[in-house]
Symmetry: C2
DNA sequence: ACGTCATGTAACATATATAGTTACATGAGA
DNA sequence: TCTCATGTAACTATATATGTTACATGACGT
């Protein structure tokens, strides 16, 4: 399987939602992401359970943001997904009897642990509000590009 | 499939080989690692191509170390495996047209890049000789444990 | 009440990558 | 020339993310 893209996907959804008031149906969001509504519900389930978003059934239902975007970090979102594995590599055997394997594991675990810690730390530094601000900046420069195209 | 354990596996092999003079057949090594000889040949192929080990066919053949263990780092070994993916996560789409996706990718790429760079850097700091020294230390304390058990 | 809409979820299908296994060709040495 | 060992292709097994279908649950409007 290709690499896990759920974090990327769910952030995409949240940022789309932050651009305009909701609610958004899974189908609408799925079309924007070129995927299936069930996939949306799947990756959003954890966020709903933690109260970052709300979902309503029936007419006028769908997904709504339910958190302060400046208080939720990528690390929170990652945790809401169930904290899936970060690294593609690991030890052959955990808690091996073989001393050779223990020596190898010790060295690798050190490096793996450092990398995971750094990644989580970086995730913790970025809020959804910061992502939104970056997006608005990108939207702004695109608008300017459009205008200069008009002028040209 | 569970996480890629080839680096762990090949280091295990190399450390075993460093403990006594070779050559070692794939079958011997496979038994020590509780796996299949073909798996050994597979993960050793890249190391052979780069000259870190040598392989000989026929009677008395097998695998031999062919490098200065103090000059080869985990990073070299990782590269010899073909530099497989380090991270289990990635972006949904590379080079997306959607600005939302671009904003998400930019944030994640930053974190992913940092983590990968750190991991490679850590790999580069550890030589096979250092692993061997750590192993001998572990072998030593096990021997002492055995002796104190005799005394008790 | 009833029909429609939307989520919730199970079940199944698809795709991809590692690991394990079998089979056989190649080549070295006794 | 027989045996041993590597080199490699091909196939199987397994795990996981993703895509899809089907249906139950519940909310809203008529």
């Amino acid at each position: 399987m290709r690499r896990d893209s759920r974090l990327s996907g769910v952030l995409h959804v949240l940022l789309h939602m932050a651009q305009q008031p909701g609610p958004f149906t899974s189908e609408t969001l799925a079309k924007a992401m070129d995927t299936n509504p069930v996939v949306i519900r799947r990756i959003m389930a954890g966020l709903r359970d933690l109260g970052y978003v709300r979902s309503e059934k029936g007419h006028g239902g769908g997904w709504t943001l339910a958190c302060d975007l400046s208080k939720v970090t990528l690390r929170d979102v990652y945790a809401a997904l169930g904290s899936p594995p970060l690294l593609a590599m690991g030890n052959r055997t955990e808690a091996p009897g073989c001393l050779v394997e223990q020596a190898v594991n010790a060295a690798l675990d050190q490096a793996f642990g450092d990398a995971e810690a750094l990644l989580l730390s970086r995730f913790g530094e970025v809020t959804l509000a910061m992502l939104g601000a970056d997006l608005r900046k990108r939207l702004g420069s695109r608008k300017l590009q459009g205008m200069s195209a008009h002028h040209a």
